[in-house]
């Protein structure tokens, strides 16, 4: 039972990061009308930035600022590319997925060639921290606490922005009907760029929590995270923010419990098998698509 509770806590921490990632992905889908498959690669590059700045500085604020800035810059830099793709006549949402897959390939290869000779990097102990609370087998680490707390706070802020501010109203209006939103005078391009900014912040913050929780980064991490993010998004229903919240947490819990009871890389397979079965039974997602 103790193992189960320990893995449940770990799963909630991991799940809250997945929720952040899926929320960013869904926001891109709803507002910018793109499938941003390269988003997890931005998160991994941001993780590498945290690691790199930590080599030179102990100033936490500087480290966080650098990681967040890289994530925001990369996210905003991709905006003109996707805008050009979306404005091409006869091109559908698949084109953004294909282009973002190309971007993911570029990012992954650059990371595997240039950073730390392609080897995974480990974050220093001062960054990850040790255990804070301990009851028998149940141990809560600093990384888990930050991931869980940070994830909840970030999601709450995001949903506040979405449902209680004018900008959020613009996002929802564009998500509902782009043409009608433009008719009532909502600045489409400006709102779209703002969504890239928000996604950049969410990406940088996810990278921060991820680096504290798992304590390492590798060029191949983005591939796994992209797969999980897309899978959660489809299992929940494409563009369904609330569905993504529930399914992200469930994925984190399933994955952690599988790690607790099943050895090696099989634990990852369990999560994918569950998602595959759900997708095969309900191809439209558990909560319905919003696009």
């Amino acid at each position: 039972m103790e193992i189960f509770i320990a893995q449940l806590i770990s799963g909630l921490a991991l799940g809250s990061i997945y929720v952040l990632l899926v929320t960013g992905f869904n926001l891109m889908l709803l507002v910018a009308k793109i499938i941003q498959f390269a988003y997890p690669q931005i998160v991994v590059i941001s993780m590498y930035t945290y690691w790199w700045v930590l080599q030179f500085s102990n100033n936490i604020f500087l480290v966080i600022l650098a990681g967040l800035s890289v994530s925001i810059i990369l996210s905003i830099l991709s905006e003109p590319i996707f805008r050009k793709i979306n404005s091409t006549p006869g091109v559908d949402i698949n084109a953004s997925f294909i282009a973002s897959m190309g971007m993911a390939m570029i990012a992954m290869d650059i990371m595997s060639h240039s950073i730390n000779y392609g080897f995974p990097v480990s974050f220093p102990y001062k960054w990850i921290g040790g255990s804070i609370l301990s009851f028998g087998l149940i141990t809560i680490s600093k990384g888990q606490l930050f991931a869980l707390g940070g994830g909840i706070i970030a999601v709450l802020i995001f949903f506040y922005l979405l449902y209680h501010t004018n900008q959020g109203r613009f996002f929802r209006a564009i998500a509902e009907n782009l043409f009608a939103a433009s008719l009532v005078g909502i600045p489409i391009i400006k709102t779209s760029i703002f969504s890239y900014l928000i996604v950049g912040i969410l990406g940088g913050f996810s990278a921060l929590l991820f680096s504290m929780l798992i304590g390492s980064a590798s060029p191949w991490l983005g591939e796994f995270v992209a797969l999980k993010m897309l899978a959660v998004s489809i299992v929940a229903g494409l563009g369904n923010l609330k569905g993504g919240l529930v399914c992200g947490l469930i994925l984190g819990i399933i994955e952690s419990i599988a790690i607790g009871y099943i050895s090696g890389s099989w634990s990852n397979v369990i999560a994918f098998v569950v998602m595959l079965i759900v997708v095969l039974i309900r191809p439209q997602g558990l909560f319905g698509t919003k696009i």
Binding site: N94, I98, A99, I106, D109, S265, L276, V279, L280
Partner: protein, 285 residues
């Protein structure tokens, strides 16, 4: 024939087959990455059957195709008419599950791989013979009612349904055919290389196949051919320093082609314009 030319021709043929396997379901707007999982399963089955059970090449080939066809059929029952991204995620998760299973299965060599598969004489000749047969069949499908129905589904699903097209059956047909082609490519691959590694069936391979299809052109079956040969030739044309960055080159090509020429290098319109025109005088007569 030098070893480099031998492998260049062999891999190019395999990637043309895989490009066609990706092209077919995309006719109905589905990116069917399950073909990579099918290729891996058939390749491993083929390699094991030939090495351990001494099965002849023809029997291995037929069994490999059958296994992939059955897998394709079972999955198509659920995702025959599913939206593109549902099909994408089914394919991606399947590739990951198959790869992890192979890595953890000692019988198949685990992460180290599988070696010493028996050789087949004239494998290159057999490959190109099968390539021509497959190309002819795809050409016939493309120019049949099925091909026209697929074109309508790609442009507008609602119109296709109104016109009486059974999109589920059509999707199932293309998915099953694609898996069968991938199964064949898997068996041919194992007899070409005579070894297998789970590292071969990764995200990079999916990206490479996407590059072959979309750079060449996804609206006709012909685009895949020059694209597969050109991309396979990159490591041979450039120095090893540049060639080691080929994933960056493939990724950049994918982004550039979507930005500048979304239909790819060879388009249907281009082929239409190349057809010999009937002179105006002949029409007037």
């Amino acid at each position: 024939m030098s070893e480099v030319t031998y492998y260049f021709l062999g891999f190019s043929a395999i990637y043309v087959l895989m490009g066609w396997a990706l092209y077919l379901p995309y006719r109905v707007g589905q990116l069917h990455f399950l073909i990579v999982a099918c290729m891996a399963i058939s390749a491993y089955f083929g390699g094991y059957a030939a090495k351990e059970w001494d099965w002849p090449f023809v029997l291995v080939l037929i069994s490999g195709i059958l296994i992939s066809t059955v897998i394709g059929f079972i999955f198509s029952l659920a995702i025959g008419k599913a939206p593109c991204f549902t099909v994408v995620i089914v394919g991606l998760t399947s590739v990951f599950i198959v790869k992890t299973t192979i890595e953890n299965w000692k019988l198949l060599g685990g992460t180290i791989g599988f070696f010493h598969v028996p050789s087949v004489t004239n494998i290159l000749f057999i490959m190109y013979f099968l390539l021509i047969i497959t190309g002819f069949l795809i050409y016939r499908i493309d120019h049949s009612r099925l091909g026209r129905a697929a074109s309508v589904v790609f442009v507008d699903r609602e119109v296709a349904i109104t016109l009486g097209v059974d999109i589920k059956k059509l999707g199932m047909f293309f998915q099953i055919t694609a898996c069968a082609i991938a199964g064949m490519a898997g068996v041919l691959d194992v007899f070409l290389v005579r070894s297998l590694s789970p590292e071969f069936f990764t995200f990079s391979m999916i990206g490479y196949l996407m590059c072959i299809l979309f750079v060449g052109g996804h609206t006709t079956m012909w685009g895949v051919i020059p694209s597969a040969f050109l991309l396979q030739g990159i490591p041979l044309i450039f120095s090893s320093n540049i060639a080691s960055w080929r994933q960056v080159i493939y990724g950049a090509l994918l982004v550039i082609i979507i930005l500048l020429r979304p239909e790819g290098m060879i388009t249907r319109k281009m082929l239409w314009n190349m057809k010999p025109k009937v002179p105006q005088q002949a029409i007037n007569k």
